[in-house]
């Protein structure tokens, strides 16, 4: 695949989310700048949608887990696995976010919102954990 097409697909977020062939769907547009570098940027543009700006999550008929002061973050592989593979209502980001972006955002979350872990996750760690990217279907 040439780099232009690859870039276009990435911008459209098609790596993990192709235009659904059957669902009521907005169409092909909806580009998202894919140049998010820092963990803070990834958090703001992706995670904050559900986990909230303060990392405290939400509560309705079900719960969006808080990341603030969450003991499940003690081992970095746990949040990395959740971001890669999804959990419950949360989609997988394997293939949508790069290993670098996942490492950065996991490190960001583990050092903010009342969390102060000192060990850092690397992109290589994430790569080692990542399985094949699921294929979205109807």
């Amino acid at each position: 695949m040439n780099s232009f097409i690859l870039r276009a697909l990435l911008i459209a977020g098609l790596a993990a989310f192709p235009v659904a062939a059957h669902a009521d769907s907005p169409g092909a547009g909806g580009e998202r700048k894919s140049d998010m570098q820092s963990g803070a940027e990834v958090y703001r543009h992706v995670c904050q949608a559900c986990h909230m700006a303060d990392g405290k999550g939400g509560k309705g008929a079900a719960v969006i887990p808080a990341l603030a002061s969450n003991p499940k973050l003690a081992i970095s592989a746990y949040p990395a696995g959740v971001v890669l593979n999804g959990f419950g209502a949360m989609p997988w980001f394997n293939g949508t976010l790069s290993p670098e972006q996942i490492a950065h955002v996991v490190n960001y979350v583990r050092t903010h919102f009342g969390n102060s872990y000192t060990d850092m996750l690397s992109a290589d760690d994430v790569k080692a954990m990542a399985g094949p990217v699921p294929h979205v279907t109807h």
Binding site: P26, G27, G29, R32, Q48
Partner: protein, 525 residues
């Protein structure tokens, strides 16, 4: 045709032409058509006193309740919200949007204007939904899906200038036809096609693509009969039209262009499309009219247990906090998996795994009210959809109230995936600002004419935590069948338990299938 004669004819056809011919003949005669829906289920003879508890008063739940009561069951519905309909939902002036973690939005639309944050359009072949709309007296009107005069915009094409769908569609067709005709003349298809085929295809390309005698696609009176004019035909001595200029063909091949053309080719997106008159929640209200007496609102289900005798559901009244238990012989659970995966449900481990294996989409819809319908008055756009590569993904114009001189509401964003998450993380004011900034690229009138807006982020909706189930090839294979099978006395239903995900039709087909199997099981028990 008398049924005996008809069967004989079909048998004869089957023998002569095989099953394909038989199928085609049956389709023409109105049988074996493509929808799975061939009429409402004929269920009857439920055991006296047999009780079904339905969880969720969305379309799937209300349809299950309606049909099961008709079959003789005693039915009750528990609903978390304070209104029936679920994701079948319309926002009008005075309504409030309550999300988790977002300041409450109060809708400021003028009377008669509305936006449908969830489902909004009905393909002509969604027969189950059309059937029940008719049966429950829900009037429908055309939903304008494809509008040749709407815009297609990509930051990567034509210097970021929006193009009319018509110009893109016509020129893409013409250029592809020209290239194919050239490749026939260049003998590159000699191996693929016979000489006769090549001659016919070349003629087809000439006619289909509006090519000239030299097989070129050029600006002319001929091509302008399709793509429109620089100066439109008029009356009188100066009425002669001036042909329009073609678009730069290189930019036609950019993804945002052809993807917008391909969008309308999708089976579920083809015209004719309908919408309920006055807002999509007229469907939910139509269903609710049939089963209103069965629904208990404000009920948050906390536990679903079962044994050989029946099901026992624990629920909490969201206003008073009072905890109650409800027992029944059977349970139809239509709670979205995003929520159900966090409820203590007593089902087999494989079912439990399936419930937890399906993530949900992060759709965004934005309703923007403007002081006047400039898209009609200035741009000649009546209904339909403009596409953009911006995060808002599309702008859709109202398929009602044409030519009204009052304020109009358009769909200022309909997007999902990464763009949906980005917008969901914004404050309501930031979301609206994003809609205005990106929509202004299509319509510079936006800033001057804007009045008010509302933006719904489905991933923050407290009763669904997302809009639609996301299936992968892998999860379909591993979990789908388990998810749809009866687990003891419990069966799941909803768009998530169908192959028509993210459509109301999927919810209805799933519901009808689930209750048909439930009834069969109950009869056997």
């Amino acid at each position: 045709m008398a049924s005996q004669t008809r069967r004989q004819l079909l048998t004869a056809l089957g023998l002569a032409g095989g099953t394909a011919a038989l199928y085609q003949a049956m389709t023409v005669m109105g049988h074996a058509a493509d929808s799975r829906f061939s009429g409402p289920p004929v269920l009857s003879g439920a055991r006296k006193g047999s009780k079904v508890l339905v969880l969720g008063a969305g379309l799937a739940g209300m349809l299950a309740a309606y049909e099961l009561r008709k079959a003789g069951y005693s039915v009750r519905i528990l609903e978390y919200q304070d209104r029936p309909g679920g994701r079948n939902w319309t926002l009008r002036g005075g309504d409030r949007v309550v999300e988790m973690g977002t300041p409450v939005q109060k809708v400021g639309f003028s009377p008669g204007n509305y936006i449908n944050p969830g489902p909004w359009r009905i393909p002509y072949h969604h027969r189950a939904l059309l059937h029940y709309c008719k049966q429950f007296g829900v009037p429908l009107e055309p939903f304008i899906q494809l509008n040749y005069n709407a815009f297609v915009h990509s930051a990567e094409a034509f210097g970021g200038k929006p193009m009319r769908y018509r110009d893109v569609a016509c020129d893409f067709t013409g250029v592809v036809a020209e290239l194919l005709a050239k490749s026939i003349d260049g003998h590159t298809l000699d191996q693929e096609l016979t000489q006769d085929d090549r001659a016919q295809l070349k003629e087809a390309m000439r006619g289909w693509g509006l090519l000239d005698e030299n097989l070129r696609y050029t600006s002319s009176v001929h091509t302008s009969t399709r793509r429109g004019w620089e100066r439109r035909p008029g009356g009188g001595p100066d009425g002669a039209p001036v042909p329009s200029q073609l678009l730069d063909r290189h930019d036609l091949f950019k993804p945002g262009m052809w993807q917008s053309l391909a969008f309308f080719m999708n089976y579920e997106m083809q015209t004719t499309m309908f919408q309920p008159v006055g807002g999509v929640d007229m469907i939910g209200k139509g269903f609710a009219k049939q089963v209103a007496d069965l629904i208990t609102m404000h009920a948050r289900v906390t536990r679903i247990a079962q044994d050989q005798q029946g099901v026992r559901v624990t629920w909490e009244h969201t206003a008073s906090g009072k905890v109650s238990e409800e027992t029944a012989d059977w349970c139809v659970c239509t709670i979205p998996l995003s929520v159900l995966s966090q409820i203590d449900v007593q089902v087999a481990p494989a079912m439990k795994a399936a419930i937890g294996a399906v993530p949900y989409t992060s759709h965004i819809k934005m309703g923007l009210e403007f002081k006047r319908r400039f898209w009609e008055q200035d741009d000649d756009i009546y209904g339909g959809i403009s596409f953009t590569s911006g995060e808002i993904s599309q702008v859709s114009y109202p398929s009602y109230g044409y030519h009204s001189s009052g304020p109009g509401v358009l769909l200022g964003a309909y997007t999902k995936n990464m763009a949906g998450l980005d917008i969901a993380g914004m404050s309501p004011a930031e979301r609206i600002e994003t809609g205005l900034a990106q929509g202004s690229v299509l319509h510079p009138q936006y800033r001057k004419e804007f009045s008010n807006g509302v933006a719904v982020a489905w991933s923050r909706i407290p009763w669904s935590l997302g809009c639609c189930a996301i299936w992968s090839e892998e999860s379909r294979k591993q979990h789908y069948r388990t998810l749809t099978e009866m687990d003891g006395r419990i069966v799941l239903a909803g768009e998530h338990a169908s192959y028509l995900g993210c459509w109301q039709e999927g919810a209805l087909l799933s519901s009808l299938d689930a209750i048909t199997r439930l009834h069969k099981r109950a009869q056997e028990a």
